[in-house]
């Protein structure tokens, strides 16, 4: 039981002789690939059975890549997170896992585990088992006929057709329901229609053959025409209802999505804005606290409202903004960040962020007012300017033991190949941090050498 579950999935291997079928089969069964190949060749001499089997597997078994792609696509529905689906409809991802081995079920409850294990197994291999049983049945009938036993094929074939058609159609319904009417990618929809049509055709043909008693083609043809006419009439009558139901369903779904959105916004406002307003009312006496609370809330709300979803998190501009927010919270002075361009984070950029943060801390601490931060990133490098409106200081007169400016800003920038310039006068102080792109420097050096 456990060995069966831990067996690698049946996929066509990339390490192959013809199409990777034998290798894949060997991996799946855990047999040596030599025997499989030998068996396949031997079977080919038995009326071409090996060839047929090989061809069938070639067509039916996906390659490893295809299998991986399909499995990764399945659980991720693009709108699934925005629509709240009842848990019974959505399938747990473990079901679609290729090996079926990863089941996040607690072992403390044996009975449900066993039941659900069965359910999972049935869903996973049910179709294949059914198909196999059907094929065995067909083979048995053919063999029995060879031995001269009369088999009522005239009744069996139409009956089988009806059964097959109905099951195909119902399977379709089951899958639509399983996907919660959400995963409406075009390919899936087309497949669904094909399946429905095939099921319908099989059922209709089966019924016709059965009713007309396997009569002549002409009779069947006439009956088929008649039934199509009837079906068309019924469809014409039912179409308006069907459309109406469909529209209602769509409206309801849209309403549900809106409702979910509204609930999310309400929850966010409640958690953030209302709480902050309550805090502000209680601390109305302290001007600094009120300003700090209001700034923090404004920042949070802005991030939530105007956040650029396409922008990657963890880039330089975002880190600088986060550092500014931290300083703002710590000192209660506004820190306005303007950024132009962006750059990916590296260790050197990390140093730039830390130096900028130190500069912002100093500006907020000694400047005593609003702090302006400007970040510009381009192909040649990144620059950060931190400016305050404080009384200013003489950078040369900073005592040696004060490490803030000397070590955390200037030293740090130098160590990472950048520069830091402090410009201070009675109208304020500006710290200019510059971090050139490393490769550009090297390229320039190389060009210089080439010229020389």
């Amino acid at each position: 039981m456990t060995t069966a579950m831990q067996r690698p999935p049946l996929v066509r291997s990339s390490d192959r002789m013809i199409a990777g079928v034998c290798r894949g089969l060997a991996d799946h069964l855990g047999w040596p690939v030599k025997y499989i190949r030998l068996g396949m060749v031997l079977a080919s001499f038995a009326g071409g059975a090996g060839l047929a089997f090989y061809a069938w597997l070639w067509v039916m078994v996906p390659t490893a890549d295809e299998s991986a792609r399909r499995n990764s696509r399945r659980p991720a529905s693009p709108i699934a997170p925005s629509v709240s689906m009842p848990p019974s409809v959505s399938m747990p991802p473990a079901v679609t896992a290729p090996d079926g081995g990863a089941q996040p079920l607690p072992l403390s409850a044996p009975a449900p585990v066993f039941a659900s294990w069965f359910r999972l197994r049935r869903i996973q291999y049910g179709k294949e088992i059914l198909l196999g049983a059907g094929l065995l049945l067909v083979a048995a009938i053919l063999i029995v006929r060879q031995f001269g036993v009369e088999v009522p094929l005239g009744t069996l074939i139409p009956a089988a057709a009806i059964l097959g058609g109905a099951s195909i159609a119902w399977m379709q319904l089951d899958e639509t329901r399983r996907a919660g009417l959400v995963d409406k990618t075009k390919a899936d929809q087309a497949g669904g229609w094909v399946r429905l049509a095939a099921g319908l055709a099989l059922v209709v043909a089966g019924v016709l053959v059965m009713v007309s008693g396997s009569g002549s083609w002409e009779q069947t043809w006439l009956a088929l025409l008649a039934s199509i006419a009837v079906l068309g009439g019924v469809a014409l009558v039912l179409l308006p209802w069907g459309l109406k139901f469909w529209k209602d369903l769509e409206t309801e779904r849209a309403a549900r999505v809106r409702e979910t959105e509204r609930a999310e916004i309400a929850a966010h406002l409640h958690d953030s804005v209302l709480q902050t307003l309550a805090l502000i009312q209680r601390r109305a006496g302290s001007e600094q606290d009120v300003v700090r609370l209001a700034r923090a809330q404004e920042r949070e709300l802005r991030t939530w409202l105007y956040r650029d979803a396409a922008k990657d998190a963890g880039l330089l501009a975002e880190r600088i903004a986060a550092a500014a927010a931290e300083v703002e919270d710590a000192h209660g002075h506004a820190v306005d960040v303007v950024s132009v361009g962006d750059a990916a984070m590296t260790d050197r950029h990390e140093a730039l962020v830390l130096a900028a943060r130190e500069a912002m801390h100093n500006a907020a601490r000694h400047g005593g007012g609003a702090v302006s931060v400007y970040l510009e990133s381009s192909d040649t490098g990144s620059e950060v300017f931190v400016r305050d409106r404080g009384p200013g200081f003489d950078p040369d007169a900073v005592p040696e033991d004060r490490l803030g400016v000397k070590e955390s800003i200037i030293g740090r920038m130098k160590r990472h190949g950048g520069t830091a310039v402090i410009n201070s006068n009675s109208e304020g102080t500006e710290v200019r941090l510059k971090l050139p792109v490393e490769n550009a420097d090297k390229a320039e050096n190389r060009n210089g050498e080439a010229k020389a």
């Binding site: 802005r302 302006s372 400016r387």
Partner: protein
């Protein structure tokens, strides 16, 4: 805040300027904000009208014909165009009335849309009283007012490399204009920009006005693309 007297830098009275009052209309849908702003504006400014919706704004502006309209970007009423709609509807007064956009919004598309509609500047609502008064006077004198954030948007939209001579003049900023924009983005006032670049305040104003004109008139592919991308937020 207690430690901010350094921030307050009232514009020095320019010699030769007649001590007249600038007539201003405030357009904002929040009455509390309107009254707060009115109290913040200093004695050089005379608020002659207020409006809370697009329709009211168009009517009031046409009636009192102010020199400057302080205009919120987001306004109820009209066709839903907000401040932009007010500017377009008041195009008959283009020569005599200037618009200064005020917004809490940081979103680039709001700001750039209202500038491209014809506003002479853009400031955030957190601006201090003396600063907003200076901005109003500046706009009344026909100059442009850029906040650090707007300067950042401009640099983002036009790129940070200077124009080649062969380029279409409208589509890029000159090296000098880039320098001015950078300094404004860094939080410099016009006076400080002038000092830093060793030019006169008047020259700084000329550069800023040129940038504003480019921002309004440029059909630069990147600019429109940039605005369109930002609208997809």
């Amino acid at each position: 805040m207690s430690g901010t007297p350094e921030e307050i830098k009232p514009e020095q009275v320019i010699p030769g300027q007649v001590p007249r009052k600038v007539r201003v209309v405030i357009v904002d849908d929040h009455a509390i904000f309107r009254s707060g702003l009115k109290a913040d504006l200093d004695s050089r400014i005379d608020v002659v009208g207020e409006a809370g919706t697009v329709e009211q704004a168009i009517a009031v502006i046409a009636e009192v014909q102010p020199e400057v309209v302080l205009l919120d970007v987001h306004l109820p009423g009209g066709l839903g165009g907000g401040g932009r709609e007010v500017i377009s509807a008041s195009s008959a007064l283009r020569g005599s009335t200037s618009f200064l956009a005020l917004s809490v919004s940081d979103a680039a598309e709001d700001v750039v849309a209202v500038i491209r509609a014809g506003a002479r500047g853009y400031v955030t609502k957190t601006i201090s009283g003396p600063e907003i008064s200076d901005a109003v006077i500046r706009v009344a004198d026909g100059d442009a007012v850029f906040s650090p954030r707007l300067a950042g948007f401009v640099l983002d939209a036009f790129g940070t490399s200077p124009a080649e001579i062969a380029d279409d003049e409208l589509d890029r900023l000159s090296a000098r204009e880039l320098e001015v924009m950078r300094l404004i983005a860094r939080g410099y006032s016009y006076k400080e920009v002038a000092k830093e670049l060793f030019i006169s305040i008047k020259t700084v104003e000329t550069h800023v006005s040129a940038v504003l004109r480019k921002l309004q008139l440029s059909s630069r592919h990147e600019l429109t693309k940039w605005a369109a991308e930002r609208r997809l937020l």
